[in-house]
């Protein structure tokens, strides 16, 4: 996690402490700076160290109040303040900062925090928590300012030091609210006010902002928490999203990630996937517009899989894991909401497919003796990488529970792959073959490499062109009047080259069921797989 974004500097541009005005417990408005020295004591009633310090704050007021403005700045509501006053018999003014705006502006993380300011409003001394030596020095300072001797206090009766309590202004939820309210808020997105009588979930449906399932309402607090997942500037434009060719800022992606149900630590994966999706090579415009019903498939490699708890084992391509489900969904919502790709608009799928809700999984690298996907694609093993494929169909199971040799398992892969799109569709582009651990074990027992598996598939699926011609059985296939180069006897493998067969290891230890994710048009006029390194945020 990165350092939380601080919206308030300790000192303003002039170097002085921030100015403020608060009412005290008698209703009088107290404004800082006061043209005198001031002692600002941030406290709250339900804090032992604040209570420990209250008699000293009161004493400072009694001893030096004629020359120094001594104020307790209470984070409590009126009832809490009343308790504090009664408990300690206070005469010192207790200012009402129950809204926490001044605590926030002063970056108070701990109560009590006691700040001595000079008559120009500059900080002279600060005590965080309790320290008796600090208070001793503070009383000497106050005495010097007031021109009187400091009171005779037996410091041996006081503990040497006590840690303070967390300021209410940094409580989770409260802090994000205060940041969102501050003038320097990092949020720039248009704010939509949903009427008090309206159901926000229904509103989001009515506005066409969901994928058909409910979304988490993207409140400013949630979006700020989401932005804690990245170090990147919320206003950085990371991609241009078709079909609207709209700029995707980190903030806009974060809003959609909130809606999808992501946790902040998933955000860098979503951002990298959006970057990959919006490249010319990946061509998301074609992917979303095609009548074939194509959708991105997000595969994650590297250490981040473990850090964010992705599923790469049992049910990896299915439901039930938050990271898998929501990262894939966030990518889709970015496309829909920022890019404007909606069914019936530029999304023209004949049937559509459920991957258009989400499909994201991780490779089980540790289970596999093979080089993982991202290393094959040129990254370091220690990099976290997202790879986007395009799928129109699948996962289609390869059910083979009886093969006991590597060649048989690879043979089954080939037989099933023959059917991708259409048995007569040969010379095809990208396909993702998700190899399950049991099939992998059978292959590896004989030391088969990915290259051998690919070669076996290509060899097994090669058909003479004449077997792929259109005929009375089916009008799909090679046109009879267009004899392919090399003549009708030339064998044509299923895929244009072995490099189009992408092997990824995932799935449960038990079960001999691998799967195929069928691709779409490949190459520069279709969609090419694209990988992007994921920002490391530790």
């Amino acid at each position: 996690m990165n350092e939380p974004r601080r919206s308030a500097a300790l000192q303003d541009d002039s170097g002085g402490l921030p100015a403020f005005g608060l009412r005290d417990n008698s209703g009088e408005l107290r404004s800082f700076p006061t043209a005198r020295s001031a002692l600002l004591c941030f406290v709250h009633e339900d804090c032992e160290t604040s209570n420990l310090s209250m008699p000293l704050i009161e004493r400072a007021h009694v001893e030096f109040g004629d020359m120094v403005d001594v104020w307790a700045i209470g984070q409590d509501d009126a009832a809490g303040t009343a308790k504090l006053v009664e408990r300690h018999g206070l005469t010192v003014p207790v200012l009402d900062d129950s809204a926490l705006l001044v605590s926030f502006e002063y970056d108070i993380e701990t109560v009590p925090t006691v700040i001595l300011a000079d008559d120009d409003g500059y900080e002279v001394r600060r005590i965080v928590g309790f320290g008796r030596a600090d208070w001793d020095h503070l009383f000497e300072d106050l005495g010097a300012i007031a021109g009187v001797s400091p009171p005779d206090i037996d410091w041996s009766e006081w503990p040497e030091s006590r840690p303070g309590c967390g300021s209410l202004s940094v409580l989770p939820g409260t802090y994000e609210r205060l940041v969102a309210q501050a003038e320097r808020s990092p949020l720039r997105a248009r704010r939509i006010e949903v009427g008090a009588g309206d159901d926000v979930m229904e509103f989001l449906f009515d506005q066409g902002l969901t994928d058909g399932l409910p979304v988490v309402p993207p409140t400013p607090e949630r979006v700020l928490r989401m932005l804690e997942g990245t170090r990147r500037d919320p206003q950085e434009v990371v991609a241009t999203v078709p079909p609207n060719m709209a700029p995707a800022t980190i903030e806009k992606i974060a809003i959609n990630a909130v809606m999808a149900g992501c946790r902040p630590e998933y955000l860098p994966v979503v951002v990298a996937a959006v970057e990959a999706m919006c490249t010319d090579e990946y061509n998301i415009h074609g992917v979303s517009a095609t009548t074939m019903g194509a959708s991105p498939v997000v595969v994650v490699n590297g250490p981040i899989r473990h850090r964010i708890g992705m599923n790469m084992g049992l049910g990896a391509l299915g439901h039930g894991n938050r990271a898998n489900a929501t990262i894939g969904r966030a990518v889709r919502l970015v496309l829909r909401n920022i890019g404007g790709a909606k069914p019936g608009g530029t999304e023209r799928s004949t049937l559509g497919n459920p991957m258009k809700y989400t499909l994201c999984f991780a490779e089980w690298e540790e289970r596999s003796p093979w080089e993982p996907l991202h290393v094959e694609r040129g990254f370091e093993a220690g990099d976290s990488v997202v790879t986007l494929f395009t799928a129109t169909g699948g996962p289609n199971l390869i059910v083979d529970q009886t093969s006991r040799s590597a060649a048989q398992v690879a043979g089954s892969f080939g037989l099933v792959l023959e059917g991708v799109h259409h048995p007569r569709a040969h010379g095809m582009g990208d396909v993702v073959l998700v190899v399950c651990p049991e099939h992998l074990d059978t292959l590896w027992r004989e030391g088969w490499t990915k290259e051998q598996v690919r070669a076996c598939i290509q060899e097994l699926t090669s058909r003479p062109a004449r077997e792929l011609l259109r005929d009375a059985v089916s009008g799909a296939g090679l046109p009879p009047d267009r004899v392919p180069e090399g003549g009708l006897d030339r064998p044509i493998p299923k895929f244009a080259g072995p490099e189009y067969i992408h092997l990824v290891v995932a799935g449960a230890d038990a079960g001999k069921f691998s799967a195929v994710l069928e691709g779409w048009a490949s190459g520069p006029r279709g969609s090419m797989p694209v990988s992007r390194k994921i920002e490391e945020v530790t």
């Binding site: 926490l100 705006l101 997105a189 993207p218 409140t219 078709p242 006029r525």
Partner: protein
């Protein structure tokens, strides 16, 4: 002081997840009485789109002898028309017919 940013008297505030382009109700260009000038025929490179445009061109030449017909083609149907092509068509034509096929 009221600090309810998201849950207050006014209801809930959410952030706009879209690109915030104003919802525009596009007006159709006024249809003229007569076809004059240049008609563009755009092939998006889908199979048989050219066949459709060939037939259209024949018919239009027969019916509108005074009108100039120009053919254009996108490199691929999978990607949006390049800016230059869109500009060229807008500059050269008063009408455009696009063959979408499928």
């Amino acid at each position: 002081m009221t600090t309810g940013l998201t849950q207050g008297m006014q209801g809930t505030v959410i952030l706009d997840p879209t690109d915030e382009r104003e919802p525009l109700r596009r007006q159709l260009t006024t249809r003229p009485e007569h076809i004059v000038g240049t008609v563009g025929l755009l092939d998006i490179s889908k199979p048989r789109g050219n066949v459709l445009l060939d037939r259209l061109e024949e018919r239009l030449r027969a019916r509108l002898p005074g009108v100039e017909l120009r053919r254009y083609a996108k490199l691929t149907f999978t990607k949006p028309a390049p800016d230059d092509l869109r500009r060229q068509i807008a500059e050269e034509c008063q009408f455009v017919i696009e063959a979408l096929a499928d």
